[in-house]
Amino acid sequence: MLQSVSTRPHTRDELSAAVGDAAELDATLAELARVRAIGELDAPEVPQPKIIPLAPFPLTTMVLNVTNQCNLSCEYCYEYGEDKIVDTENGKQPKFMSEETARQSVDFMLRESGSNKVAHVTFFGGETLLNFPVLKKTIAYARARGAELGKEVDFSLTTNATLLKPDIIEFLADERVGVTISIDGPKDVQDKFRVFHNGTGSYDIVAPKIKELLKRHRSRPIGARVTLTSGTMDVKRIYQHLTEEIGFWEVGFAPVTTSPNRKHAISESGYDEMLGQFRDLAYDFLEASVANRHHGFSNVKETIEELHKGVSKAFPCGAGLGLLGVATDGDVALCHRFAGSDSHKFGTVRDGIDRDAQHAFLQAHHIANKTDCSVCWARPLCSGGCYHEAHTRYGETTHPNLHYCDWIRGWTDVCLRIYGELSERNPGFLTQFDRDEAEAEKVS
C-alpha cells in the first residue's frame, strides 16, 4: 500500500481494489495515518507547537576554552582563519584562562547543573594542552567540589596531540580524562592543512605521540576527529589509517566549516561524493555490527542512537541549553565556537547565565521559525544544523544550513536503512543505547 501511494495519490476505492476486505483496508489506513506514513491530500497543515524549554534548564556540559592560542596554523581553522569571529590576537580576551577563572567556571558549572548527578567538563582551545597547568589544577578542584556536593564530574578534552608527553599521558590516563584527537588522516592528508606556523606538516610529530597515548591510556576509548575538506575527501582510506595503523577506537568525520568561496570549502558535488563514501563505510559498520564486531565509524553510531531514542529536536544541538562555552575571561557563550564573542554572550561564570539572553536566543532559533525546514522530513534530527556553520555561511545563527540539505537527507536516509536492517538482523546491538543518563554533548 505504501508503495502504491508513494508513486501518486490514491483514492480509497483504488486501494480497496488491491486489498478487498474493507475492514482490513480501514484498519491498515488508520495505522499508517497514525504514524503519519500517509495523509490526506491537501489536508490543512497542522501547526507545530513552539515550546521553549522552561528555565532554569540544567547545564549538562560546559566547554572550557582554557586558551585561545594554538601552536598549529591549520589553514581551515574557524578560530584563526579568515572566517574567525573573535580576534584572539588583539582582542580583549586573555590568551590563557587563569586558574581563578577556571575555578569560578567549575563553581558555575556545579551551580547550574541543577539536580543532575553528573557534570561534564570539556577542555578546549586553541590548543588545549598549551594550558595544561591550569587544566590539571581545575580537574583536582572540580573533583573536590563535586564530591562536597555529591556530584560526579566527568572530564574530556580535544587536542591536536603535538604536546602529548609521557607525564601528560600518564595524568590523562590516571584521571580518566576522555581524549579526542584532531587529526585528518595519513601523512599526505594531515600535512595538507594541519601545519605548524612555519608551514611544516604535523604528522611526523603527532603520530608517535598518539601511539604512545593509545598504548598507555586504556581507561576510556579514544577517538579521532577528522575535518574533511574539498582536497582531503578520502573517507575510507582515512578511516582505515586511523583505526588500523594508528589504533583509534573511533573516528568521527565533519565537513569543514567555512564560507563557500574558500578553496577548501566543500562544493555541492563534494557533498555528494562525501555521501557516497559515508554510505560505503556505514555499510561496513552494519556488517560488523550484525556480527557483533566493533566498528569505529562514530557518525553512523551517533545517528542510529538518535533514531533509536526517537529524538525529535526543536534545536539542532544543546548549545545554549544543556551546553555552554566559556571564554578565557569567564564570559559564557552559546558554545565553544562562539566563546569570547560579545554578540553570542550568555552572561559570565561570575554572574551566572543571562536568562533573558538565553530565552531570546531560544525564541529566535526554534525550528518553528525556520520556514525552509517546515516541509523537510529530516527536520527532527537536523533542526536546521549547526549555528556556527550558519553564522559562517550566512552571517546569522538563525539561518538554516540550506547548502547541505541534500547531504543531511541523504545521510539520514542511509542511517534509517542501517537502523532498519540492524533492528531485523541484530536487535541486541541496539540495546546498548537504552541508557537514560544525560550524556555529554560531542564537541568539535
Binding site: 484498519a27 491498515t28 495505522e31 499508517l32 504514524v35 533514531l307 533509536h308 531514542k309 526517537g310 537502523y419 532498519g420 533492528s423 543505547f433 537504552d434
Partner: protein, 110 residues
C-alpha cells in the same frame, strides 16, 4: 497495531502506554475494547478547554460546543443530553457542525 511493528525505543514506549485500555466511559458489548479518549476530556491534556487565558470562553482551543458532542457520543457524561437511542433520535439532525449550528439543536421535552 497489526500491520506495523514498533522498532525504536520511543515507539515501543508509546505502544506499551496505549496497549492497555485506559478509563473508558462508555463500553457496550461488541465495541472494540480499545482505549477511548474523548477529545477534550480531562484524560487528555488539553489546556484552554474550559477557560481561555483571560478566564473567558471566547478564545478556547476548541469550541465550547464540542463538549456537548464529546460527552454525548463518547461518554454520556457529564452532559445531560436527550436519549438518542429511543426517544429523540433526530435531536441533532440539523446540527452539522456544532460550532456553527449549535443553535439549531432541538429542544426536547420529556
Amino acid at each position: 497495531m497489526k500491520h506495523l511493528k514498533s522498532v525504536n525505543r520511543k515507539a515501543v514506549r508509546v505502544e506499551k502506554a496505549t496497549e492497555q485500555p485506559d478509563v473508558v466511559a462508555l463500553q457496550r458489548t461488541g465495541l472494540p475494547q480499545t482505549p477511548h479518549f474523548p477529545i477534550g476530556c480531562s484524560l487528555v491534556f488539553s489546556p484552554g478547554w474550559e477557560a481561555d487565558r483571560t478566564g473567558g470562553t471566547a478564545g478556547l482551543c476548541q469550541p465550547v460546543e464540542r463538549d456537548l458532542f464529546d460527552c454525548h457520543i463518547g461518554c454520556y457524561w457529564p452532559a445531560q443530553v436527550p436519549d438518542q437511542l429511543n426517544h429523540a433520535p433526530d435531536w441533532t439532525a440539523k446540527c452539522a457542525a456544532a460550532q456553527k449550528d449549535w443553535r439549531k439543536i432541538d429542544l426536547i421535552f420529556p
